[in-house]
Amino acid sequence: MAEENKVRKSRRAVVARLAKYFMRYKFTVILAFFLMLGSNLFALLGPMLTGKAINAIDLETGVDFQAVFFYCALMAIFYVVSGVLSYILSVVMIKLSQKIVKSMRKDLFDKIIALPVGYLDKMQAGDLINRISYDIDTVNSSLSNDILQAATGIVTVIGALIGMLAISPALFGVFAITIPLSILITVQRSRQVRPLFRKRSGKLAELNGYSEEMISGIKTIKAYGVEESMISHFADKNKTAVDAYYNADYYASLIGPSVNFVNNFGTVLISTAGCLMYLFNMIMLGDISSFLLYARKFSGPINEYANIMSEIQSALAAAERVFRLLDELPEGAGDTAETELENPKGDVSFRHVRFGYNPEKVIIHDLSFEAKAGQTVAIVGPTGAGKTTLVNLLMRFYDPQDGVITLDGRDIKEYTRKSLRAAFSMVLQDTWLFEGTIRENIAYGKDGATDEEIREAARQANIADFIEALPEGYDTPVTDGGVNLSKGQKQLMTIARAMLSPAHLLILDEATSNVDTRTELLIRGAMDRLMQGKTCFVIAHRLSTIKNADLILVVKDGDIVERGKHKELLEKGGFYSEIYNAQFE
């Protein structure tokens, strides 16, 4: 119960927030309201006029043509006006909802990109995409359709009610018998069907997840010849999914005909009672006709009610998911730093740094070291020992739980993040290229890079020949995260990007891990030049890259177990020499 209350409370907050988006467009909202009212009122007058026209036909004295024409002309005008108004209303509503969606989507994207890396690391790409496309879509269709339909429904129900009462309270008394029936069906339906539909989409999502997973592993499945057992697992999940679909359908299929039945039952009652009343001269034929039309109008929105409500519910849930992400604090929310880091010398020191991605699971216990400007610090150690973590800390993707990292003698937290990061250029193990041309990707490293500079950087990274051999050269688009390039080529491009960058500090995290050794040899000179005069942090498996480092930190289980130069460490015969020699065993 308390849970339900909480949900209700948060729903109310969501509604209030959505309303705020609406209020930015107050006048449009007011305009829409009057358009809605107008279009519905004109439409509601129709049945009344129909009745009057039929009454004018069914006279003892014969047909009163003048009256028939008059009412029919009015009807035609009203219907056309109502139609035009309702189209204008739709357009207004679509434009309004699209404006809101646009700004919501923009807010959301800006937020995503401003979130701390640590937050995004915990989130899946699919989840983000769901929110920015599917969730916002759901909110959108609810804004442009459901609210309108709900408002129209209320006006129609009230109008039809008044219409019926005005024609014949007695006949309304007869018709009223069907109202509880309609409500019963509506209420029972939503109670019964909603969980079934939820289950249905859940099971379907499960199945789709499974097939995506399996198809991405198709080669492995083939290599082990286990297709059959995967197929039978799939069949089980498929069975559950189609059964859930059927169950939802089974009950839902009762609804359409039942609603129709109540409608028809209403018609039967009105016809029978109406004829009886006509018999005793209590009603005119035309009035029966308009009453019937109002009765149909009345039941329409009532039958749609459950549908609309469940759609609005799911839109609110979607809006809540969007808002929750919007409410996350952006990176640097608590920052007070104002110092712009300009032309840093590059003295870096770690003092008693303690860190864990999860505060309970510390992976760096107590790390201190110093790197003077222009020096190279290499970090070596087994997989999972926390080497990449150092990069995360240096760039302030994460902050240490304890201890200080300084740059040029000041805590890096005192610099603005932007200027701190601008001081580094980096080449990471997981290369990243964005949608765009090769040129744009390389030029990403430096504002206003000239063509000549770009070519030179590509040449140094030994990727120029490859690029220039492409039919479109530097204008070749990099599609879908760069799938048309090999991993090695992508890495060479990020190396070219780093070469272009004017930064004073350099991070190489397995920078050449995807490049074959021959190419690595070819670009070695360029890499040396790249590192020259910069404070470098090098993480590598290949020990060849680090033997010239000024300081080698050997990391094991998050602590620095050895430190020193290559030679010293080898002579010492400790953990470093052990892993070093392993490569020649």
Binding site: V68, S133, G217, D249, P382, R421, L428, L433, Y444, H541
Partner: protein
Amino acid sequence: MKSLTGYLSVHKKRMAAGLTIKALGTVAELFLPMIMAYMIDEVAPTGSVLSLSLWGVAMFAFAVIAWAGNVIANRMASRVARDTTETIRNDLFSSTLYLSARQTDKITVPSLVSRLSSDTYNVHNMIGMMQRLGIRVPILLVGGVALTFSVEPVLALVLLAVVPLLTVIVIFVSSKGITLYTDLQRAVDVMVRKVRDDYTGIRVIKALSRTEYETQGFASINSNVVDKETRAGVTMSITNPLMNVVLNLGMTAVIVAGAYRVSKGLAQVGEIIAFTSYFTIILNAVISISRIFVNVSKGSASSKRICAVLNMPEELVKDELLAVEGEKEEKGGIKFENVTFSYDGAPALKNVSFELKKGESLGVIGATGSGKTTLVALLLRFYDCDKGRILVDGTDVKGYDEKKLREKFGVVLQNDFLMAASVKENIKFEREIEDGDMKKAAERAKAAPFIEALEDGYDSKLTVRGANFSGGQKQRMLIARALAGNPEILVLDDSSSALDYKTDAALRATLRENYPDTTIIMIAQRISSVRFADKILVLDKGEAVGLADDKTLMQTCDVYRRIYESQGEAGGKING
């Protein structure tokens, strides 16, 4: 040839029965306004309360028939839709798994996934809706019009004039809508790609302080999506008001025409009232048409995409002529004879030959794109080579039953795949392997220590693609998987790249010690990973430029020596 009709024809009888019931129910509904007109015009004037009430009861009975008929038929339709979809989906999944690698490359994995998910969903919807509305709507339309003819032919003509107009509006707007929505979908795809892209590259974006740049890029994509959606929405939203206006004007015309007919004594007022009821019925039918239209066009496009996969020709079949048993001493051996292969145009492997005896090991080294992975793909017969032949146990790989061939192997592929399941399930990988053997394999793959340190040990769950484990841990689990089946041939494609040298060396020692009879092919970037092998194949742009042991290659093969120098230089001299 498989087709949707083929799948549906299995359920012919049930569908026919369902449709008949549906038709009965619908017709019963159509009679209601007719009875009403009869009551008003014929029964009411007689003044008999009894017969009026009796006709009322008759109407009620028809309403009940309509209700029951529709409910029963809808449920039967749902069952047919369920059973058909289940079969189609299972067939599609198994067809997908049995596609050849070339076919998979051509269709692409994302497209296969969407065929299995959204396309089968669309077909499911279409089958259900076609049965539920496909018969109901035509009967309502045609029957409604036909009945009005029997009531009052001249007034019916007015109606008849309106119906085609409505149909044209619906079809015109819907078909326009389909192109607009396709445009929209394309714009949305671009947006999704942008989000996915930036998510992956967030570190780089932040490091290069390019958030503003990305935000601007997104803003223009966002505007494009909004424009397309507005256009589609504005176009589609004309349907309802327009149809309402046309129908209501038609009804007005019926009343005017009715007035003339009544005054001439050719029609009765009850009939006009009945007409207004028919109008409502026809209006609903026409609105349903637009729903059917969208649904069917989506569904039939989807069923085409599904059938395209189902009807793919079977490739890589067993060639009985080549299914000759090899000599006994060739058991466990591998032989490449002048193998040439290209994925698409440029050859990925050129004239490669080598031979391996049972228990021997082969190291493969070469630059990125030199054809190392292709070698594995051909050996496992993911593809057939264009020229030359590949023998396993002395028999051409084309002469094997696919399963029999692959059973011989334990493989770790490049970027291999872990399931969202337990560690145990991932190592066993659907094969009948004892827990003891599984654990032994994990130990030998150096995976046991970290697995046993987990809270749930071998029952610990992996998230999708094993994202909750580090690269090195994943590789060790994959190697355990390959070892668990005690394979005749072990293939490791770049599967120790995330391991540090020490673990890598220990792993190699274990392999040598515990699997003396297993033929091993090891592909690597690091020279230290392949140096121990009996033979090393050096590939360069698809060609074999060296095939010998480490010592000989150092003297004879330039490429090898250069690779060696680039990696070994660090130590100056080999000191271990």
